[in-house]
Symmetry: C2
Subunit: 400 residues, 2 copies
């Protein structure tokens, strides 16, 4: 169930040019909300990203997000910006919201204009207005409408109970390819919308979102590629009975918020294009957090590592080779590597292990890889998936 | 034909554990030669790399290189170093060379020990001794013996005629996967041996090799992965009649040397694991050479770009997305993108082009991509291949 005072919906508008594919969604609050956003750092930022950044800079309270799939509205110049502004203004008119109070997001093919005509589009948004609500069906339709190559609905909710009442946090995410987020500026065609009825100022919400994104979406890579459209928007409408949170309660809220974003981020890796396995990579005992993360990201984006995982091959040589090219110095003779349940490499030496056991362990749907550097106290986790024939199939013929 | 005074050969020694696969090669000069080497910068340097670096630091004249395929002798600790030294010393004994005058190189699976026994191995090297020569057959056998997933023999020769005589440069290269060289310390299981009868001091040869590697092998990526074993060794034995080259003649020699390394490097991309297409990426009119190269390398390692090329899809959106995440600032509205014969993106806008023409152009075996940033005068080229089902097949089950 959605947090208090939110409504969502998704319809088929024809924007994706795919008949019967839901492709236009809205996520709105009954009352003006605090808002926060993190966006792609790609130089080629899509029009909706540029519009949102501008709106968040100048406005304070927002009503929601209107989002479409099928067309990224990226690399579309001035017309793209006008189209994004137009979509927002039609939404604001038809949903009777304050001017400038909608944010927007797009995902899909780069370089195409949005298929909107001034005659037909307002009618589509009216249809959307007639199909918003707070039911489970509405939630699913909204999330479906922003999905592209995703294979399952990724949404999640958390409830935190305080003395004066409860706070709900609801989040959804779409994204399966061009996924390598780096929020505070993200990277990846990843869209995530997080709704909460907590009473939080925009500046605090922005801080919470940036910190949590850095520990969640920023630790996911499907293909190392970074999108022009990545967007995570959080809205807090203050409709919960709790009122302003005490410092202590805020800490509890942040914990729940971070758990939600981490689970959403993991679900992106689980639904990676062509993925047959979810992989968690943990670098332990590095000298610095940055080192740990750099090594984790390098392993997570290594095609050789990812194809080995697809092949259920405990090929730790590819892990050490990737770690070794991460640009971080470490001592080979202190390194230990665990793949699944198998200890493969100990203090610089290959261990004998049963290939049969390894194959069995790596045939699981979730695989944990640990690289223990034993030279410090810092650690970092990164999430990815394997690289399969499916990835080639999906991307060898995506646009045409 | 080999340069004057060189002999090479390759045999099946059993080191690769594959029956009938040639896996032990030697490249030697009749007289002690100047030598130069560039090696992987991976933290996890393989034993033969460590041995060569040490030998090149302490010695001046060298007789050749002994190389094996099937086992990388990487992550093998002290025993690995002893094994590499042992291979060199057996070679030196049986070929009656000065102690310390052989270099070595290995390629294959990481983390396994070389399958050498003190009874059997010298016999194998005697067999190698009986099979060296300067014939075309010897050349091919030597190159075959260092190949792993390579699908064709990659060797090349150049001849430069001077007043006093001619100089020959011969080179071979192996490498199809874990290819992303960064020499002056390379990256990639790429081995290349370059033989010349020019009279050049080791220090000059080292400088020539480093510069040429930076413009050739360092501009190739198959998968962005960096090997523990990359090695390029050049030997110059001075047997040409030209004697020491004048400054002017040296410039001519360097030009031929650079042409040879560039062609060898391109042949690596052409034989990339699973490659169906060779792709040249040129970034034009960047502000700095470093910027141009960074963007070129980011595009060349983008799985989304490489799968689009496999699918003959003129998906310039993935090119601009990759360029935009390279960490280089540029102006989108000045960018032009050409894929094959198709101008797809002009000053920030998508151009209409015939999908049929694009498909036809991208179905060629060699594709040229140009990204013109129009903000400076520097350019850079990078070489790669497409990402196909074959890559997944080869690497999803490489080790086992």
């Amino acid at each position: 169930m959605l947090p208090k005072g939110f409504k969502v919906g998704g319809i088929c508008s024809g924007l994706s040019k795919k008949e019967e594919k839901k492709d236009l969604a809205i996520f709105i609050s009954d009352v003006p909300s605090s808002a926060a956003g993190v966006f792609t750092q790609n130089v080629a930022k899509a029009a909706p990203v540029l519009v949102d950044i501008k709106r968040l800079k100048t406005g304070d309270k927002f009503s929601g997000v209107i989002a479409n799939s099928g067309c990224a509205n990226a690399c579309t110049g001035v017309k793209g910006l006008e189209d994004a502004e137009y979509i927002c203004s039609v939404g604001e008119n038809i949903f009777e919201l304050n001017s400038g109070s909608l944010l927007c997001a797009s995902t899909g093919v780069i370089g195409q204009y949005l298929n909107i005509s001034k005659d037909a589009f307002p009618e589509k948004v009216k249809l959307l207005r007639d199909n918003v609500g707070a039911s489970l069906k509405n939630e699913e339709e909204a999330v479906l409408a922003v999905m592209t190559t995703d294979t399952f609905i990724k949404k999640l909710e958390k409830e935190v109970v305080f003395k004066k009442g409860k706070i709900k946090i609801w989040g959804c995410v779409k994204g399966a390819g061009m996924i390598h987020p780096s929020l505070r500026g993200l990277h990846a065609t990843m869209l995530s919308f997080i709704l909460t009825d907590a009473a939080i100022e925009s500046s605090t919400l922005q801080e919470i979102l940036e910190n949590s994104a850095d520990k969640s979406f920023n630790c996911v890579s499907i293909d190392g590629d970074t999108s022009t459209n990545d967007t995570v928007i959080a809205l807090a409408n203050g409709q919960s009975a709790t009122g302003k949170l005490s410092k202590e309660d805020l800490t509890i809220f942040i914990k729940a918020f971070e758990e939600l974003t981490l689970e959403l981020a993991k679900s992106v890796a689980k639904d990676g294009e062509g993925a047959t396995k979810f992989i968690e990579i943990e670098i332990k005992n590095a000298e610095t957090k940055k080192d740990a993360r750099l090594i984790a990201a390098t392993i997570a984006t290594s095609p050789l590592f990812k194809t080995a995982m697809f092949g259920s091959d405990a090929n730790w040589g590819r892990i050490i080779a990737a770690a070794g090219r991460a640009g971080v110095s470490f001592e080979l003779n202190k390194v230990n590597i665990y793949i699944g349940s198998i200890h493969t490499f100990k203090n610089g030496f290959a261990l004998n292990f049963s290939e049969e056991d390894a194959k069995k362990s790596l045939s699981e749907k979730e695989i944990k890889v640990i690289v223990d550097l034993s030279i410090g106290n810092e650690s970092s986790k990164y999430y990815t998936c394997d690289f399969s024939y499916g990835y080639i199939r999906i991307n060898g013929d995506y646009r045409s």
